[in-house]
Amino acid sequence: MARIVSLAALLGAWQYLSGRDNIYFVPPVQDAASSLWNEVVNGNLLRPALQTGALALTGFLLALVIGTVVGVLIAVFRPVSYVLEPIMSASNATPIAVLIPIIGIYLGLGFSGKVAIVFLFCVFAVSMNTTSGIREIKSGILEMTRAYCVTGWRRYRDVIVPAAMPALMAGVRISAGRAVQGALTAELLLAVSGLGLYLMNAGNRYDVPDLVAGTVFVSAAAFLALHLAGRWEGHVLRWRTDLKN
């Protein structure tokens, strides 16, 4: 109930602002809504969304594979953790955007350059979550594994990987958000394309209803990506009875 009231108040304030003459950057609610509807129906938003989605997904999957492998290596082999862990945590706190001006020199301004940005946005979170997931496995579980003589490959497949799964999937969920962030950042700042191109064009035309519609659409798409990642997490962890309340 309180939410409905607040939403109504927000829309009311929006509508009030759009009526003021000196504020040109707030379009009337119905203009933005009809613009959103039209642009979705005629495919002007969906076509670039597929492009952006492909970019985000490629970088995300690459980061998932490489981040998991590196995370496992760091957790399992102590020398690897000595040399790589400081690099990982420093990179995670580094503003990746500083690399945007030079990525073109090495990877070009096409798909691979943009994938590299998405990858760098995601990979450190995946790796660090994997590492801490494996490290935080309770020693009792590992002791029991030893007591039942589960060794080698089966120890990883049946015990360590499932036990580390919750942390790993948390990394996946965080990275899904960062992948969309990275994709939009790359599409606006590295080489304009996809939804970035759509937003840029609308902004340059001063077509404010289209711009607001595009921004809302991007937000909804990001929400969908996070929702799907959450569903995947729930599916993978469905055996964890303690997570269901």
């Binding site: 927000l10 000595y82 001006p101 958000g177 962030q181 950042t185 606006l188 700042l189 991007v218 990001a222």
Partner: protein
Amino acid sequence: MTATSTVIAPPSRAAGAAHAATLARERRRKWTYRAVFWAALLLAWEVAARRAGPRFLPTLESIAVDGMSGFFTNGFVVPFLDSWLQLFIGFAIALAVTIPLGVLLGWSRLPNVVLMPYVNGLFVTPTAALLPLVILFAGTDLTFRVVVVILFAFYYPLVNTATGVRQTAGGLRDLSSTLCMSKLAAFRKVVVPAATPYILVGVRLGLAAAVQGMVIAELWVLTGTGEVLKNLAQFRRLSEFFAIVILIVALALLLTGLLRLIEIRLARRGMVSAGES
């Protein structure tokens, strides 16, 4: 580094000495690995740089000498300081708004129910996608950069403060009312200390995001360090480019490292005072 061996209480003097020796040996091993591997990485960079040439990859020497001296002599210091000033203005505003708001969200239910959907919605939205919209009402000057920094930085301080306050709000609040503390005293003496570690983590994460926001804002409207970086990359003055990147990253790491140090200090003091009472 030496603190680790003194924190763990040895069961006996001999065992303690043996334990300390093991720790020292492990530490030596750790730094040997690091020295070898990191030296190999730098060597690989150097070899690659010499083969690729300065227009593709600058050598370490040219970054350290030409790049760093270029930073001071070619007038990059002013935009660099300017960028960080903008960052701190934006970050200070973000904290001044989000921490009190976070306290409110953690303390009572109604603001939480009403506001959290918007907070989460804004968090989910890729912040970069807001740039074309922000530029319409904030222009391209100081306001724009400050607003972008705020948009990047607001989430973690807000949500962490709310979480910290909410966690204490339940049990400890009951306890303090049992002890006949006034609401204000309970807030000052119970909720604030208990929530401080959460807030600090939020500030640290927010700061890292704010630096990212600063860079993105400046690359978008081409001012300050962002403009400098873009130009240097365009003219392939890579030794200066990498020198500035190293300075930005070093400063970001230094600041987040300092916050982390405060976190650890507070955590340690918290444990001591809990043990004393």
